[in-house]
Symmetry: C2
């Protein structure tokens, strides 16, 4: 088993994802951990810009990274970028290696928690919202979504860009406010549906914290389960 | 330019190193960041055990990861594991891609700070100490080294294993004590010369903090300089 990570979108979100894979792996020494091969493909063009018809197609650069992961021996692939999942179907069609879907990881976790029928707040990029990545996939699994209004969405997008530029503190304030607004509007839980957001909301206050869902962490757990399931070591399986 | 990371020794130290590369890169958006390909080669046998003649040779597994980095297009390689540098010469002899040396990165930073002639405390694995990785390379550059006594070294080794098993808190206490002892013995600065140690000493108290040298961070900075120097974008060069 080798986990392939199609990353770099952004680079710090990839680091966050890798940390979550490691922390979710039952291990006492280096050799207990899952082997990973990671492409931090930072030159992939902006995904939101492409969805909004304002930028270059990121698919060729993502396919190039995918092929490098495949050649390096990846047996299971994850993409720690929600917006990039707009191309999940096209990427999956070009490889026999399973690419886990971040929204499926969230839906599985919500179903396990018995949250069917609730409305999930979604903080995401303009691209993720416009492409309907969460709305469609969650609807199929019995969950409704709510997003910020136009002004709130612009603020979310501004905060995501601040994280990508390294100004996490300013982003924390903005995203905490937008998450709280979604809770006020009736969302019992709010998904941090852009992989930059957990970097900023790790510092969210105590009241907001239990309302936040982290799809990055759920994808990491799904990867650990998938990789360890292929091992013949039942004592290492994750509950 | 593409930075290759021969990692997984341990996995969390690789994540720490990647974060330091990203934080040391002047960037306003994803596309400004350095492309990386990372092998988290956790199955590489224990380096210290091999140096102490108690374990399997890690070189074949490291060479395998090196070749995968080379095939993925790495133009510069870093190994965020101090003990693995015992095999630096053998690895470098097998590839034309330059492999930056973590002790050179430290020596360059010390020389820049005008610290020639001082004695540097070294907290490292038994393997790194026994192989003389820091002692020999720093002596050539005009620095002396001091290590903990046998009892202290055993404590350092215990703390490193605690970090690898995820118990960072317990390791912080032990490593803070051993670093303080080296300061008492006349070391003005103490190098965290195992890549697990900065993970634990990130929480070190205020008095100790300015005494600590982080070779992981220095290696990350050297990689950023090396990768950005190959670009024709002078405004992005690191000072």
């Amino acid at each position: 088993m080798m986990l392939g990570v199609l990353g770099g979108m952004g680079p710090m979100a990839t680091v966050d994802f890798m940390g979550k894979v490691i922390r979710n792996t039952p291990a006492a020494c280096d050799q207990d951990h899952i082997e990973m091969v990671v492409c931090s493909a930072t030159s992939v063009p902006d995904r939101t810009a492409a969805i909004l018809d304002q930028g270059r197609d990121p698919l060729p650069a993502m396919l190039d990274a995918l092929k490098r992961l495949e050649r390096s021996g990846a047996t299971c692939i994850a993409i720690p970028c929600n917006t990039a999942h707009h191309w999940h179907g096209e990427l999956q069609a070009r490889t026999h290696v399973p690419i886990l879907h971040i929204v499926d990881a969230l839906a599985d976790a919500l179903a396990e928690r018995g949250l069917k029928g609730t409305t999930i707040g979604v903080l995401a990029t303009d691209g993720t919202v416009r492409a309907g990545i969460y709305q469609r996939r969650l609807a199929k699994r019995g969950f409704a979504c709510a997003m910020p209004d136009a002004a709130g969405q612009a603020e979310v997008m501004r905060a995501i860009r601040l994280v990508k530029a390294g100004d996490v503190g300013a982003a924390t304030t903005i995203l905490s406010r937008e998450a709280a607004t979604l809770v006020t509007k009736g969302c019992s839980q709010v998904a941090m549906a852009c992989t930059e957001i957990p970097l900023a909301l790790a510092a969210a206050d105590g009241e907001l914290k239990p309302r936040l869902l982290d799809p990055t962490d759920m994808l990491a757990r799904a990867c650990v389960r998938s990789c360890l399931a292929t091992l013949d070591k039942p004592e290492r399986r994750v509950a």
